[in-house]
Amino acid sequence: MSRLLGLSVLLCTLLLTACGTYSTSSSTPASNAPTGHATKTPDQITLTEDDITNRKYTSLGDISVTVRKTTIFDSDPTKELVNEALKEKAADMGADAVVLVRYGTVGIGLLSWGQMDGNGRAVVFQ
């Protein structure tokens, strides 16, 4: 009995002290996307909800991220956290920018009490 109680206390502590949010991401490379771009750091990535029309770019592919909060006690994922996750994914792909960024609405998901999606297109400037 005391073992079960100890386990419950440990589980509760883990739930309450775990990181606030975590994210998952995926990408769909453009069929004719150029390859071999060196990875960048997230702070080098430009991010916009609009398209970039005053500068030529090549699409590397579409990226999707989901930011989830760990417990019900954590604060909800925000657009800023989604932006960070999109930048990280784009940086891994060697992109210069993420265009046409759009967000889902925050709400309860299958794996979390609060999650928010974001999609965008990773591009490199010419």
């Binding site: 004719n32 030529k56 699409s59 999707s64 759009r102 309860i108 998901g109 009490w113 609060g114």
Partner: protein, 134 residues
């Protein structure tokens, strides 16, 4: 497992199902087909737009886009304002079911956002097609 325990588990499962159907997150809309990148596979043409849209000038397009963005923000604010209430009701509902009456799905706002975002994509494409200044 006793019959009572099975009933309790069934109630909890129903509660989770109700929660999934009410206060769930909406996915972000997909990114539109690339019509502006140098490696695009399709190019937009005037026939992609309705006659009314094709007649719009750059300032009318940007004005509508700004109005749509404001409406999306208003809808998102309405959804966010019900979040804490939904979470608490959902959490209690996992055990008691009845608190689900307190959840607010904001389905009208979510549907509105979906339509507005789709319209924004058309306007962005039109903006690029008409070579409006960025």
């Amino acid at each position: 497992m006793s019959r009572r325990a099975v009933h309790l588990l069934q109630l909890i499962a129903m509660g989770w199902l109700c929660m999934a159907l009410t206060a769930c997150a909406n996915s972000a809309p997909p990114v539109p087909v690339d019509t502006t990148g140098t490696n695009r596979e399709t190019t937009s043409s005037l026939s992609d737009f309705s006659a009314d849209d094709a007649a719009m000038n750059c300032s009318a397009i940007t004005a509508e886009m700004k109005a749509n963005a404001d409406k999306i923000e208003t809808d998102n604010a309405a959804i966010r304002s019900n979040r804490k209430n939904n979470e608490i009701a959902g959490y209690l509902g996992g055990l008691l079911i009845l608190p689900y009456a307190a959840t607010e799905s904001n389905s009208a706002e979510k549907e509105d956002i979906k339509l507005l975002q789709s319209r924004q994509d058309v306007l962005r494409k039109l903006l690029a097609f008409k070579k409006c200044p960025a």
